[in-house]
Symmetry: C2
């Protein structure tokens, strides 16, 4: 008998029919003898409807009152799903975040969970009840309703799984698992049976939007086994765990992530003096622009070139700031480019295998793809290339690292 936390997002509970399907699924697990806690989001569209109402009154809605309103979305879903379970003869009970109680700080609309009181849920599970909990919400010390911010239902699921020491936290979504890369780009992409938290974090932050980064961090921190599954299809999904041992038997590289959302800025001919990096990036971060990759070339002739990437939405603002900085510090020129893409290979296996980066560069060279920037971490190598080569690069790397699915017979 396992204790399982199951999280269903807004699309999975978007209609009464889908809620009935979710109830069928939950019932099957419950009948198999497992203890089940279900975390649900608001029905798709509902949160936006509520925010829309609020914005009709206040351009910038008051955060406390917005949380009071928006938290009703999940509250409706828990009632509906619990009824659907009761109708099926499954004993069930619903709780809001306040009722559980999921204690958070008081940072309305982006609160962080501090503590979960598991007494009530444990008693219900012991009585063989399915417990249905509203995701995305909590309550602060003063009894004010808080919300965790977008995607917060994943976090609720993981936090509950951690508090209850659940055997698994299952995140139901509209894909059947985590893939080696985006199947729309590489038809041979394969579903991974297993991936580590670190790999998942790198994949997620690079654009594989299956899970909220925060919930993966949380799961990793508390070692909650996380499984990504399809809401309405059967299948094992992808298990995300700490367990590196078993991953070792898997390929060195788990997946290829990519991202078209960035733009590149370069300042050339910068006098190579101490503190120059701060002089360049200080004004950028002061303007609340987040910088991703940073590359500084070795100086020659006492000047250096300095390149970094920002989100494309911030490109214009960043370029203007950089040009002003360039004049101040006597740089030769400040230029930028939005037609770039970032491609990364991710895998804990590369820790113990040398030569992964050069294997990557070789595969790209074979396709005559020029590398503009390189950045590495322990389990990831990222390169910036011209955007038009993105698909070619991803396919080449997917093949080079032997991630392609075996060819299937003609169907």
């Amino acid at each position: 008998m396992a204790l399982i936390v199951q999280k269903f997002g807004g699309t999975s509970v978007g209609t009464v029919e889908r809620i009935e399907q979710v109830a069928d699924k939950v019932k099957r697990f419950h009948e198999a003898g497992d203890q089940i806690v279900v975390v649900v989001s608001a029905m798709s569209g509902e949160t936006n409807r509520l925010i829309g109402l609020a914005k009709q009154i206040m351009e910038q809605p008051d955060p406390r009152e917005l949380d009071v309103m928006v938290s009703t979305g999940e509250q409706v879903t828990i009632g509906l799903l619990t009824m659907a379970l009761l109708k099926r003869g499954v004993q069930a009970v619903s709780y809001t975040g306040s009722q559980v109680r999921i204690l958070t700080d008081s940072a309305h609309t982006k609160a962080r969970i501090q503590q979960i009181d598991d007494a009530r849920i444990r008693a219900d599970l012991k009585a063989r009840k399915v417990v249905v909990v509203a995701g995305f919400q909590g309550v602060d010390e003063q009894g004010n309703i808080t919300t965790l911010g977008r995607g917060g239902s994943d976090t609720t699921g993981v936090a509950l799984a951690a508090a209850l020491k659940a055997d698994e936290c299952q995140i139901y979504t509209d894909v059947d698992g985590v893939y080696t890369t985006d199947p729309r780009v590489v038809p041979q992409a394969q579903r991974l049976d297993k991936i580590t938290f670190e790999e998942m974090l790198e994949m997620a932050s690079l654009g594989s939007k299956v899970l909220q980064i925060r919930s993966v961090e949380f799961a990793g921190k508390y070692n909650v086994p996380l499984r990504v599954l399809h809401s309405f299809q059967e299948g094992p999904g992808t298990l995300i765990t700490l367990d590196e041992e078993e991953s070792m038997e898997q390929p060195i590289i788990s997946g290829i992530a990519f991202n078209r959302d960035e733009a590149k800025l370069t300042i050339r001919g910068v006098p190579d003096t101490p503190g120059v990096a701060f002089k360049i990036l200080g004004p950028i971060s002061a303007a609340n622009i987040e910088v991703d990759m940073i590359v500084q070339n070795v100086a020659h002739d006492n000047t250096t070139d300095f390149t970094f990437t920002v989100h494309r939405n911030d490109y214009q603002a960043a370029l203007e700031i950089l040009k002003r900085t360039g004049v101040e510090i006597g740089a030769r020129e400040s230029v930028g480019d939005t037609k770039i893409a970032k491609v990364s290979i991710v895998g804990v296996g590369m820790r113990s295998h040398a030569g992964v980066a050069s294997q990557m560069f070789e595969a790209l060279a074979k396709e005559s793809i020029n590398i503009q920037m390189i950045s590495t971490s322990e389990i990831k190598v990222s390169v910036v290339i011209e955007e038009k080569y993105l698909e070619l690069a991803v396919r080449a790397l997917h093949t080079a690292f032997e991630l392609d699915a075996p060819a299937r017979g003609a169907e």
Copy 2:
């Protein structure tokens, strides 16, 4: 400086525009120096939408889970109204029933208020905040969300006014007060400045649906001055108080109430033995049919006639039961009539004025209206007449008891 509880119903907060108008009104009171607690219902249509969703899943929705869902309607309104106040520079804060806390019993969907914790509200009022409370809902000892049943927002308003010892509980609605009778029947009907709780109860139970009976009972019990006002028009409305002294100066009769919802049943030639009334009405009440007026004529020839009224919806069922009873007890015949109407004169003044009933009968006789049944209470005389004479009877009585508004100049 007065402490005022203001209750706005679903129509008054039915759109964002109306919520803005309510905020304008609340702001005016607040700026005049009053301490204001506002109780709001769900936006009109929202409660039905939520119940509709629930019924898609369960024909008879689970009461606990239905309360979880339905209570979200008011929760959205409190957030919106509080934002509208904040936007106007009025310090305000919202509370759900659980947050206040409005403690109820555990009778989901028809819970009764047991206790209200006023500490939080008092502290906010002291800090010059407007407190916005979700009507219709509470929380039981175990922390389960409860609702008070339809119209429960009026009850919330009155209960809060009682707990806070408010100077007045203002119920905002779509009429500008309580009238001497329905203005659609008698154009000369006048708004009453004042009416007693008892009179209001008789008026309400007889079909003047301005206020929920339960909230009037509650207000009377705790002596909370209640005022009925129009949400979007200026005016003094109608004050409902215990205060009989001042009412004495008013006419003997406060208003004419009427009701077309009843049907009449008669059993004739019943052997006049002890216990016969129970033999007749016992099976009716066992079938959960409520009986309103009951008249038994004096016996002659050792038999008697027995007549009573029920709601028209229960007419068929009641008649079948009565016919079976008639056979059992050897009555001559059992007959019924749905084409009846009940007309009542209501007024605390009649306590100290003899002849009010005969004045009523005289007025009806003048119009040749036959009286089928008569029933009296301390502050009410009701008659049953043929339905087609209803309007004529109401107008005749309105004139006879000098309730008609003075004729206005041609406009």
